[in-house]
Subunit: 270 residues, 4 copies
């Protein structure tokens, strides 16, 4: 690996050097601004008035992200693994829609253009690279994934049954036009969102709705309980994995200087 | 028990053999597809256009579930206990509505037919058989059932009182037409669902509604706290899986030095 | 205290004798039915059709509760303390509205009669006597009352400020007619109830509303965290207050038979 | 520092003397009443009818708070640090709008006057001084700020993507007029507020909305888990208030035998 490539690698992938930090800060701002542009251009009035300005800015950012993408490929240690990694795909997706829009201008319908314009919003996924500290949260969620999947499966069964019952009780006259729509209503109700676009009108329907709400209000405790118990465990493990050199017992607080079991001086905790 | 019956039992009830696993996967897909059919046929347009196709598919699945039911009876070790178990009843309920619909075609009204069609949705309960891993969650909920019942009783008292007060304050003019309806509104509000089909219009009513919301927002902590504390305990018990060398019982704390069951010195915990 | 009074005291206040249990079950049903009557009579159609029947039933229950109240006064050990206790006041309130309605028939307006009719709903508070097992929950809530009060005070400050800001941003044209109404809207939003009777229409208003929702979504964690931590402590204290006779250390599990610190046989845990 | 200034300092800043307590109680009432006045005067009818009375009361409270502010400056030990402290700024803000309104009467538009009137509501921040006991809650929130920021960042990414998808799926015809508005809808939905001012009308939109609700219903567990785990730790640390005889530092675990700070044998913990 040449010296220049190595230096580029440190700047672009690393965060330890001043240049690397500067690059990251610059990139985060570029992502945020380009996402904001996509958001703003979706507003009718802004698109009409500032359309051209946004078109130019759009191509500046696409150019920047293209240069970034090419540099990342150039300087990465294992090019193939970068291109097919999550971040490599995201970096490609951040520039692809703009070039596709260019290619498809002639033949394509308006819908495709609009879609490509919106797809550029996935640039925000480039931010995920900077959420590195999220791994305690992610680990907790990951370790409780089986329990959460089972919870979702159970909730699905519940929602289907409630939906079918409400379809029979309320019927199409009160907005429950089909079982899928009734299930949608049940999910809206059991998650305590409560849009109010469909509401029960019969007394029996309101009684069943009350039951669904009370159940939803209580079972919110289940995912909370799962994640809390897992997080508490994770936090505990973080603190207490160091063992005393004398009695080799763990579980010391992060501010402990002496072993709480044998009084021996602890080397380093945390 | 004959060899064939034993083999069938292993395939149908067991999950250890490849054939048993294949059977389970096949059955889960059959359940999901047949439930999806019931959902789709409840949509007016689909029922009109594809009515005949759905009718044929319906009978194919009814046939499959009938064969499954008869085989389960045939090969179960204790037939009587299977038939009257939760799963036996669910398996029967999964096929009964279709046959009842056949019997009642002549005399029955449209409502009965519609009801029978919807009842087929309870086939989804056949899935419960595969939620075996849910028992940590179920155990936590089961062990906290008394506390949750008391919580519900307390909430019922609260909702009745709030409902009566809102009925007096707002009155029929603002949609609070009776105390039961006011209680329905209170449940909608206190569980933070908030449909918005009935809302307080007077200043006093809005002040009382605010109080109800703040209470609901806080007491959601109670079921969450109960389940979290219980789950944390369950997880803790799960974790300390080390078994005493003398009495081979697990569940010791991580700082235990002697077996809490037989007093034998523990080698190493954690 | 005479023998008859003592026996009555055991039946009415006690729950250990068969007669006492029977009395409690009978009373709970009487409370539930009489509350259901008050609920039903508030429905216009039912009141019109079954008015007379409900009038008679009402007086039967008033009579029963009057007898119960007099018997409780007669047989209680300390009459004065019973009459002025929470339960004594509730028992009096359960019968007072009916007699007041009788007294005020001549002169009173319809509103007073309706109010007195609704006040009878407070009979449901007689049920609180039977929620004795709620004390673990109540203790947890009671011990965290200071923290919850502070949480409410902080939330009040937040709601007032958000309400004032929304009043300025949205103004009377979009339904935010006054600051108190804006505060009502903020409470509806921050508790995630979301009726939808008042909603922000300006872009700035929607941005501020989004902020309020995200804050509300997060700070729900605070009461939950308080109560969970308190409940976990309560559950822990319940389990582990017994101390080993040999080394007098506590913290044993409820199923422990030997001290986990010194291996000494534990007398009795739980 | 003169005797009078010292005495004033004790009364105004202190809470230990009877005069200091009386001053605090008086001030809290003055804050609450003056805030209530601002709330009430924002109601059209009240402003019209009692306008003059409120004008007089307003100036009485402005006078009181001005005297309080001047006295606080006069008697504080370090005047500069008080003036620029959070409380000093809040105390100034509590009186500034009234004087500004006086200055700007001639030239200013109605909007500025209305704004200044509403700004007086920030007087409620003077109450923060009395929420001193909130520091356990504040500390827990502060220590989990990084995790909560990451949680918010992740949620932002989620909301932007969901918003863009819903904008494409539902389109302007169903109320999703722009991506920012779609993001507003996503926040309303994912936080389970659910106003119902914008609702999905297409089947695909309702399916995506259901997904957003279920995700929102589950990830509410994350901030709850973070704060609960943190609070439980804080409460645990609070509990072990026993101090080492040698170094008089507290915070030992209940099963500690030696001081974790200096290794000194602990007499008795718990």
């Amino acid at each position: 690996m040449s010296g220049r490539r190595k230096w580029l690698n440190e700047v672009i992938f690393g965060t330890d050097t001043p240049a690397g930090k500067l690059f990251d800060v610059f990139l985060i701002w570029a992502i945020l601004i380009s996402v904001a542009l996509v958001l703003l251009v979706s507003v009718q009035e802004i698109a009409v008035r500032y359309g051209e300005l946004f078109f130019i800015l759009e191509w500046i950012f696409t150019g920047l992200f293209t240069i970034e993408y090419l540099l990342r490929i150039y300087c990465s240690v294992n090019r193939r693994s970068y291109v097919f990694s999550f971040y490599g795909v995201v970096d490609l997706l951040a520039i692809l829609p703009s070039y596709l829009a260019l290619l498809l201008t002639g033949a394509s319908t308006l819908l495709v253009v609009r879609l490509l314009r919106v797809l550029r919003i996935f640039r925000i996924l480039k931010l995920v690279r900077y959420l590195r500290d999220a791994n305690l949260l992610a680990r907790s969620l990951w370790q409780s994934r089986r329990k959460i999947m089972i919870f979702y499966a159970g909730m699905l069964v519940l929602c289907v049954i409630f939906g079918a019952v409400m379809f029979v009780v309320e019927g199409p006259a009160n907005g429950f036009t089909s079982i899928p729509k009734s299930i949608y209503w049940t999910i809206v109700t059991i998650t305590t969102v409560g849009f109010g676009d469909i509401t029960p009108h019969t007394v029996v329907g309101q009684a069943i709705a009350s039951l669904a709400m009370l159940i939803g209000y209580s079972i919110i405790a289940v995912p909370t309980g799962i994640v809390t118990a897992e997080l508490a465990g994770e936090l505990g493990r973080d603190k207490s994995s160091y063992r005393c050199d004398n009695c080799s017992r763990a579980g010391h607080d992060s501010d402990a200087e002496y072993c709480k079991h044998c009084g021996y001086k602890l080397e380093q905790v945390e």
